[in-house]
């Protein structure tokens, strides 16, 4: 596909939403560095965070090539309300069960989204996604094991996981918030199916796991179109953290 015929605006929304998702979950996970419940998890969460922020950098890079924006400015110089990550990622670090519940919902959603992009017609994104799934396979192995471990252990672990899933439930499917200009992406062959269809695929994919663990399926979002807006106080706090160094000396070079 020639650059001239690209649905640039819609593609920008797609890249921006994916980049913001990976960036925000990466920073959330990095909060466990040094204080995770096990040494191995300290390493795992740090490594996962490094992966996700690396993915965000690559996606902001593509967005920058498309629009001429500076990838670092995209990551760090926007106001909190300008970020377009899924509301699923707006719940604060919480306890370990909250982190596992959030990662489970996010990683399974991301896997469904990546599948719908790998065969796409815009090579820079299709090729990047083909690379990302190879890394995300490790993320899924990690989170599937922890999710099953907490759900399958009676008493406090399962109770905490249930409480986390309850809190996340209204936002559980928000990775699949319809994107502005989405039909143009499908017509151009960049995205295989509308987000509403991808949400159905994701539900079909996780249903057997949730069923086996005796867990309920998350409900559909009440206000589907707002799934990437109205970020709350937890994100305002995280934004303050991850932009702190950048704001302390604007324009500094390292």
């Amino acid at each position: 596909m020639s650059v001239a015929s690209l649905p640039t605006v819609a593609l920008g929304h797609l890249l921006g939403s994916m980049a913001d998702d990976e960036f925000v979950i990466g920073f959330s996970d990095s909060e466990w560095t040094g204080i995770a419940p096990l040494l191995e998890e300290d390493i795992a969460m740090s490594s996962l965070a490094q992966d996700e922020i690396g993915h965000a950098a690559a996606l902001y890079g593509l967005l920058g090539e498309l629009t001429g924006a500076d990838p670092d400015a995209l990551a760090y110089d926007r106001d909190p309300h300008e970020y377009r990550h899924a509301r699923l990622l707006d719940h604060g670090r919480g306890d370990w069960a909250m982190t596992i519940a959030r990662r489970y919902l996010y990683e399974t959603s991301d896997a469904t989204r990546l599948e719908a992009l790998i065969g796409g017609s815009w090579p820079p994104l299709a090729q990047l996604c083909a690379k990302l799934v190879r890394e995300e396979r490790y993320h899924l192995m990690h989170i599937d094991a922890w999710f099953a471990r907490l759900a399958g252990t009676g008493g406090e672990p399962r109770d905490r996981l249930l409480a986390a899933l309850d809190e996340l439930a209204p936002d559980a499917a928000t990775v699949f918030t319809p994107l502005p200009g989405e039909p143009a992406l499908i017509e151009a062959g960049i995205l295989a199916a509308p987000m509403v269809d991808l949400e159905a695929r994701w539900r079909a994919a996780i249903a057997p796991d949730l069923d086996a663990l005796g867990l309920a399926m998350p409900p559909s979002p009440e206000r589907p179109s707002r799934g990437r807006q109205d970020h709350g106080p937890a994100f305002a706090w995280l934004w303050d953290e991850f932009t702190m160094v950048r704001r302390s000396d604007p324009g500094a070079t390292w």
Partner: protein
């Protein structure tokens, strides 16, 4: 020493790249790691495209700089670019590279059942953590010689 441009060809450039080591796995050259995707030598200079092992690999800028520094001896303009045109996979590591990893105490990538302790070659190993000190490594433990060791991830 500046080599005259007419003597520069892809073979010479690849031989030079075989001397550029990965900063996180210093026993491996970028050639043995399998990240050299394309080498073009033309009138405008030398162009090398490399494949990041991981999308967020923090070593990639160091690798680009090391390649640029090593190829500068050819006296031609150098361009080193990264690409995801094909995904780097762990089976791109050469047999030479796999042997070098094992000597350094890092088990080479492969199926879970084929993981052997790089110290004592025992098969009595357990995976301790999928994630390790760099993005590309997992942590294992050998029950025979009671040593922890790292395994390069299979991706």
């Amino acid at each position: 020493m500046v080599i005259e441009a007419p003597g520069v060809d892809e073979v010479a450039v690849r031989a030079a790249l075989a001397q550029v080591m990965d900063p996180e796995l210093p026993v491996l050259s970028v050639v043995d790691l399998g990240i050299v995707h394309r080498v073009d030598v033309g009138p405008d200079g030398i162009e090398v495209s490399i494949l990041p092992t991981f999308v967020g690999c923090p070593a990639i800028d160091v690798i680009r700089a090391s390649i640029g520094a090593r190829l500068a001896a050819f006296g031609l303009p150098i361009r080193v670019e990264t690409t995801f045109e094909v995904p780097w996979t762990s089976d791109r590591i050469t047999p030479n590279g796999r042997a070098a990893l094992a000597v350094a105490g890092i088990a080479p990538p492969g199926p879970e059942s084929a993981v052997r302790c790089p110290m004592c070659a025992s098969a009595a190993v357990v995976r301790d953590s999928l994630f390790g000190p760099t993005q590309c490594r997992s942590l294992y433990y050998c029950r025979t010689c009671r040593q922890p060791f790292e395994v390069l991830k299979t991706i």
